[in-house]
């Protein structure tokens, strides 16, 4: 009798105890954040405290519900005695998915501007999405392929943007001359930064690239004579259609091609410009994967010590990944400057780097399609958050729902890493194998067999 009691103890007491502990922790975490808010008084009045019991109760309640749900789920799981195969085998990833969905996306992207619903707003969002896709593909070469965690990618984006703006301002160069120059400058910066620091191990590299990104931003902010400081640079010339400007004049694009003048034409042109740049990035990076260089990157990512033992020049391999990634960042930056016609250091802060990194991580470290998915979800998500005006009635009038964007990113980065450490859409396996594929899943990695 006692034995059966011991082997099947009542789970309820344990569940209640653990749930209450979780609730206590949640209360401690939420008192200085959700419950008490330091509110600034008007003018020079000191701060005062605002009590927000409704948030506090909702937040703690949600945590309690989650914990009880988790307990019931794991209790239920422990009492199911059938063997679970799904846990030891990774979910099969359809590698042919990209073959069908990829061209579909491309066709959709090409016909989109000619659809009747394509107004200024839609085109702007399209340009934004494709810019992020391009940046994601550029960073993917560094992070996903070569396994170098670069937290300062936005620095190269900034280098590209400022080199176009400054070259156009001081030398009167056009967009098409500046574009390759911006890429070269960014790649040069990649080499200058990479050469000394690429000897370092992965996590040191992350911090150094982060510091480098901040240095670039602070310099841009304070070197007022050259970069305009926090005012930024404005009146950056717009790119022309191979010499034909987009204006209402007799030499303009509309007049030359016998079309009715519309401001949308410039936007459509910019849209196809970034699309072409993104396709170039895609093409180059997917070709590079199949070249010895790309194989070397993947090998380096998987095991650096083994690569060095085999006599590979790891510095040059890393440097090439860094420089090529930086180059695409420079291209994208140059496009950004041309599109906005105004740039300031605020566009190139750490959060931008983090956003691009989040796109790469969430999309799957080396899945090119994944980057497209996550860019769409992210930019679309921001727009959707902007529509959620009813949240204002809960959180108060000064609440901006799009603020939650980065909060959700951070959360998504953690959850994706916990759920599928090797990326959402891809298994991050090397392209070539010796004999057979190793199965990779979160549970196997945790057992040390990943």
């Amino acid at each position: 009798m006692t034995q059966s009691d011991q082997s099947h103890p009542s789970p309820v007491a344990g569940i209640i105890k653990r749930s209450l502990i979780t609730l206590a922790i949640a209360i401690i975490l939420f008192v200085p954040t959700l419950l008490l808010k330091t509110q600034a008084g008007g003018g020079s009045e000191p701060l005062y405290l605002l009590y927000r019991w409704q948030f506090f109760t909702i937040g703690s309640g949600l945590v309690l519900v989650w914990r009880i749900g988790y307990e019931l789920w794991s209790w239920n799981k422990a009492h199911q005695h059938r063997t679970r195969k799904a846990d030891t085998k990774p979910a099969p990833v359809d590698h042919n998915l990209g073959r069908f969905v990829g061209p579909l996306f491309l066709v959709a992207a090409i016909v989109m501007p000619f659809m009747p619903f394509a107004d200024r707003y839609i085109l702007d969002i399209g340009i934004l999405i494709i810019t992020y896709v391009m940046l994601g593909w550029g960073l993917q070469i560094v992070v996903g392929l070569a396994g170098l965690l670069d937290l300062g990618y936005v620095a190269f984006y900034a280098v590209g943007a400022y080199s176009y703006a400054l070259l156009a301002e001081h030398f009167g160069f056009g967009f098409w001359i500046c574009l390759p120059l911006a890429g070269i400058f960014a790649a040069t910066w990649g080499v200058i930064l990479g050469f000394p620091v690429l000897r370092l191990r992965g996590d040191y590299l992350a911090i150094v690239t982060l510091a480098f990104g901040e240095i670039i931003r602070v310099v841009l902010l304070n070197w007022r004579d050259f970069t305009g400081g926090s005012n930024g640079l404005s009146n950056i010339p717009r790119p022309s259609f191979f010499g034909i400007p987009f204006n209402n004049g007799p030499d303009g694009f509309a007049a030359t091609f016998g079309l009715e003048y519309s401001t949308l034409q410039r936007l459509i042109f910019l849209y196809f410009l970034i699309l072409a740049l993104a396709i170039l990035t895609f093409y180059v990076s997917s070709r590079l994967r199949k070249l010895p260089m790309g194989r070397a990157w993947e090998a380096l990512r998987e095991d650096e010590i083994a690569c060095r033992s085999l006599g590979m020049n790891t510095i040059m391999t890393k440097l090439s990944a860094f420089a090529i990634g930086a180059m695409f960042g420079g291209f994208a930056g140059s496009f950004f400057a041309a599109k906005q016609a105004f740039i300031s250091p605020e566009s190139f802060n750490f959060m931008e780097s983090a956003t691009i990194l989040a796109i790469v991580v969430l999309g799957g470290m080396s899945s090119q399609l994944g980057v497209v998915f996550s860019s769409i979800v992210m930019v679309g998500g921001i727009e959707a958050l902007r529509q959620l005006q009813f949240l204002k009635s809960i959180f108060g009038q000064d609440f901006d729902p799009s603020q939650l964007r980065l909060l959700l990113f951070g959360l998504a980065m953690v959850l994706v890493m916990l759920w599928r450490p090797r990326g959402l859409f891809s298994t991050r396996t090397p392209t070539v194998f010796f004999r057979e594929k190793k199965s990779v899943s979160a549970s196997m990695i945790s057992q040390g067999r990943g």
Binding site: V197, V218, L221, N222, V361, D398, P421
Partner: protein, 307 residues
Amino acid sequence: MDYLAQQLINGLTLGSIYGLIAIGYTMVYGIIGMINFAHGDVFMVGAFVSLISIMLFGVTGSTDVVLGVSVLIAVAVIAMVIAGVYGWTIERLAYRPLRGSFRLAPLITAIGVSIFLQNFVQATQGARVKPLQPVISGGFVLYSGSDFTVRITVMQILIIVLTVILMTGFSLLIAKTPLGRAQRACEQDIKMTMLLGIDVDRTISMTFVIGAALAAVAGLMYLLYYGVIDFFIGFSAGVKAFTAAVLGGVGSLPGAMLGGILIGLIEVLFAAYFSSEYKDVAAFSMLIVVLIFMPQGLLGRPEIEKV
């Protein structure tokens, strides 16, 4: 000369703050070999908890040093407890499940946690900067020259003294207590420690709690010293404290304190003699220079990569 002396006092104060944050980086790195990217944001949460506690006590602008100090000690304890719970929760939810995963995974979750914490605090506390009236005012004139006086405020004395006390207590904890022994054992060989029957998970959790508690005190000091905080202070303070940890030698506790003081001095002196706008550049460049020319730091051991 007087000017230099004044800057040295200021640099020492700032360096104490960085040193306390650096301890958290260096301990976690020493034991599990990851950069706890969210540590700077735990520092920021500590500063906010301190601000809220000071407001709950309702003591500002007092010249009564005894009252001020006792309130600040109470605030420090509250901040340490709450930040400790934050550190524990972060480790439990975001890092522990990934132990033994590939190398970049915990670093990426750490960045995710950092972004989350920053924006969580921004969403709940607002994006505006939070000013605070000085809790303890007053100071002493150390030297009065013809054109410049060197002074040290009560606040600065308090910060330096508190740092010395915490560092002493912390060193004793590492040297004498069972927890400290377990931590040192984990640092040397985590697998062997496990075989010897030490609860490694608990030891790592406690490491995060202690690091977070020290960062929370640093947050309180930052709040008192600058009198203004916002949700973004953890970022640059975190990178600078990490620089301090690297400069002193990652894994070395006296090194973290030494590195902190050096970074504080470098920042203050650079701001005083060259340009205050580029002081962050000075500190960040220092990180790059140190990593290139002496990656093992001042007091650290050279790291040997093992297969």
